[in-house]
Symmetry: C2
Subunit: 528 residues, 2 copies
């Protein structure tokens, strides 16, 4: 069990020192570089990892759900076994609080165990059997069976803002492994040590389960170089990505330009609009304002689901909300951002808002006593200005939000309809607001992957019903989710078997249901 | 009930004469133009149809499964009610035999009724409920529910080779309507009269069900012009297409270049390889050869699933197969092809094979006594030449097939691995072949959407287990099928509802299961 990073990538179980640019992680709370030195990989390492994944796919795709469940559980155990050194390293590399990282680790291992149960349960195979009807006229019906199979090796891109839950062994990796796909991760340069430690746990779990070491590799490198190489390698058959809009759309373009295009599941950009309705504002503007600022400033606003937009009818309720939110935000402590680049982008985004003719500052947080600190920001504009300028619709990654004052509920709905795709949309509504909420709901369904009432979008529950997705540019594929058990479906495709002899049928669709899974027989679901 | 075409498109229930190029359908068996004159639409008609579909989506998306089932059944009834004039018009426009078209009509109405049952059954909603856990520590769990909703208006492109089953009211339209999506069809210029008659039946069914007429429109126009306009209209949210590789990839590129990309389900190109294994060839080469030629020449080979490639170990069995197939094919009657353009492309494709240095003619069918006839063709080459020249891997649409002689089973598998994505792969195997078939099967799973044993790929059963799909370029999205009940999933996406008040919840995920559908509660499937 490795508890101290060495600077190595991991290719099919082997530690590998890259031949490319050397670099160190930076402690964002001090700006100081951390030991050890890491090194980027390049074309050679991509080719080695992809060849190993392709070879491993031959055996790994045929593992049973139980075998995959054991692997996923072993990875979860291994991550826990690293213990405090993992949390300490992640804290040093990201500046995120230890309590938050401890919670994120629990979420990560919980996610791995959820996918273990999903893999073992077997419904992911989508087994369907339409038995032969030799007597049917005018033509006999053949025996036709269907199951879902793994797509092939998957490239996963670790995100900067969740060094555990959306990184090396996060939801993309867990769901791809559950589906039967080997994984090649591009670790994020903002937390290479954390990445190396987790990759080591994955490799040990694979070895302990007796699986092909090529089932998992983890590389370091620049996105436009190593990342694009990975996505365009012909052996890679799907991509999972969480990050910026520019990064995600670049990978999407590269994948679409392949001779054989592949699916890209990129989770990119969302302003996560909040709609406090009039009765709720009249009744509890203060409570909503405090909850809002708490969600906005959590983790320095570095969440995909951070609430960056408030759209509401102007009036005493909204003004009271603004007043309380401004006061709360002015008192919010500055927090270090994940990387110098993120802090710079945040400062530029907030400056652009502050300089906008139609935008006014409601509040700024206290000045950051840190090299890369986030000074929270709250601005306000009017509906006409917001509608007229697409720049005001763009996400500022970090604790920045914009309030849009509307003249009436119709204007609120019109603005909502004109928004780009969102991961979440939040409504605050009391009883008298329900008729208005009923009119707003169909609009929100069309723009968002998750709709919440009287809560806050940060904190994405990992369960069966969760959707962490939504229309473009929230994600590149609104038909899916990257969080929750449904995420496994991203890495599967259906195959039909017609009159295949009984001794050659895969067990998921074999006679007598040897896997004991749920199957559709002539469209009827059961365990036949 | 209209039984004679008038030359009109149909926009939201209104007959509309296009302002673009005038043309007549051509009877391919005589080359003579047919009455009446039709006219292409353009930007105005696309905008009108898409605006009407977008408006209709507001109400149609909220129809119940039962309402959609009534609509789909009414469309099926309406198509049947047109009676013989529909078959006669389709025969005149396509040259396809009346018996084939009668069967295709039954398949089309059967497909509509299958999707009626799927819509009514309700599992398409994918209802999932993770109940709140207010006592959970460290954090309470919110109430989270999930259902799938319709993507929005869908553009459907009619195919030339199935004037009913893959055209105006074919599988794409049926599954989109079942999912809650309005449809705008681009009718195929090869059978505009058939298209108009069927569109009339759809419009009447929509009216009789009291639904918004904008739920369906049908336009005529050129692909690069009207087709691309349709795919790039911002109100269109998904595309269903069956046709050529060049047409499908052009629409895919247009959809990917939109500011907000949308899914394209294009079914394009497949050579449908056949693998007769040694024992089967030794035992029944004649029977396999006859079945093969029957499947190859069916409908002049104008099927997506026509078997255009035979890969087998050379030897007396394969030579006997070639001999019998050549004799059968030489005696096969020429049949008219669907359009002059298809006949020209076919002739060019066959000439290119005949002129290839490493390819030899095994047989040609008798000369066509028709202006656009298909003269079946069977060629042979060796494995090395096939492996070396990608041009030999390309589909020749029509009754043309290439036999590839291999030295052993390893070479057969290597060639199979190097094939592009396929709709189907067919194995002929007797008992002694099973060990070899078991080695071949995993290779075929990776390249094809459907694997058949001891049968022929033409004739795609419409059921629950069918997959009419496969890796690129068979389709643009291997995760789906365009035939069978699973096709509805192409037009849906999941949305999560967190702590949404009971009176605002959609019925699919409301308390007490008012829709009486199957739902996952905490991951357990049931009818709670």
């Amino acid at each position: 069990m490795s508890t101290a990073p060495t600077g190595r990538m991991l290719i099919a179980g082997e530690p590998v020192l890259g031949g490319g640019a050397r670099y160190r992680a930076v402690d964002p709370s001090t700006g100081e570089p951390l030991e050890p030195e890491f090194a980027h990989g390049g074309a050679d390492e991509v080719a080695r990892a992809c060849a190993a994944a392709d070879e491993a796919f031959r055996s790994y795709r045929n593992t049973t759900g139980q075998q995959r469940a054991r692997l996923l559980s072993a990875i979860a155990d291994g991550i826990e076994a690293i213990g405090d050194p993992l949390i300490e390293r992640a804290h040093a590399e990201t500046g995120l609080p230890v309590a938050r990282l401890t919670g994120e680790r629990a979420r990560t291992t919980g996610q791995l165990r959820l996918f273990a149960s999903v893999a073992a349960e077997g419904s992911w195979a989508g087994a369907r059997i339409d038995p032969a009807q030799p007597e049917r006229r005018p033509q006999a019906r053949a025996d036709i069976r269907q199951r879902r199979i793994a797509l092939g090796p998957v490239a996963v891109f670790g995100a900067s803002n969740f060094p555990l839950a959306f990184s090396v062994a996060g939801g993309d990796t867990a769901s791809a492994l559950a589906a039967g796909c080997p994984v090649v991760v591009k670790g994020h340069d903002a937390h290479p040590g954390t990445s190396e430690l987790v990759a080591g746990a994955v490799a040990e779990a694979i070895a302990s389960c007796g699986l092909d070491p090529g089932t998992f590799s983890m590389l370091f490198g620049r996105g436009p170089d190593l990342g694009v190489r990975l996505v365009t390698d012909p052996r890679i058959r799907a991509v999972g990505f969480t990050g910026s809009r520019s990064g995600g759309t670049a990978l999407l373009a590269a994948a679409n330009a392949r001779p054989r295009p592949i699916p890209v599941y990129a989770e990119m950009s969302s302003t996560n609009p909040v709609f406090p309705l009039p009765a709720a504002l009249a009744e509890r503007a203060e409570e909503i304002a405090r909850g809002f600022v708490g969600s906005l400033t959590l983790g320095a606003g570095q969440f995909c689901t951070s609430p960056g937009l408030v759209i509401a009818v102007d009036g005493p309720g909204l003004r009271r909300f603004e007043e309380v939110a401004a006061a709360e935000l002015a008192g919010a402590a500055a927090a270090p951002m994940l990387t110098p680049g993120i802090a710079r982008s945040y400062a530029e985004g907030v400056s652009a808002l502050a300089d906008h003719d139609a935008v006014h500052v409601l509040a700024r947080g206290s000045d950051a006593d840190q090299p890369h600190g986030c000074r929270p920001a709250l601005h306000v504009t009017d509906a006409a200005s917001f509608a007229a300028d697409p720049a005001l619709h763009e996400e500022v990654f970090g604790a920045s939000a914009l309030v849009v004052r509307c003249s009436d509920a119709t204007e609120v709905r019109a603005l909502a309809e004109a928004l780009e795709g969102q991961l979440t949309a939040t409504v605050h509504a009391d009883g008298p607001d329900h008729p208005g909420a009923a009119e707003l709901l169909p609009v929100l369904e069309r723009i968002a992957g998750r709709i919440l009432f009287n809560g806050w979008p940060t904190g994405v529950e990992v369960g069966h019903a969760m959707v962490h997705g939504g229309p473009f540019p929230a994600t590149s594929d609104s038909r899916t989710t990257s969080v929750g058990s449904l995420a496994i479906e991203r890495f599967l495709r259906p195959v039909a078997y017609q009159d295949v002899p009984a001794d050659l049928l895969p067990s998921a669709i074999a006679d007598g249901n040897p896997d004991g899974i749920r199957r559709h027989v002539d469209g009827e679901l059961g365990t036949r």
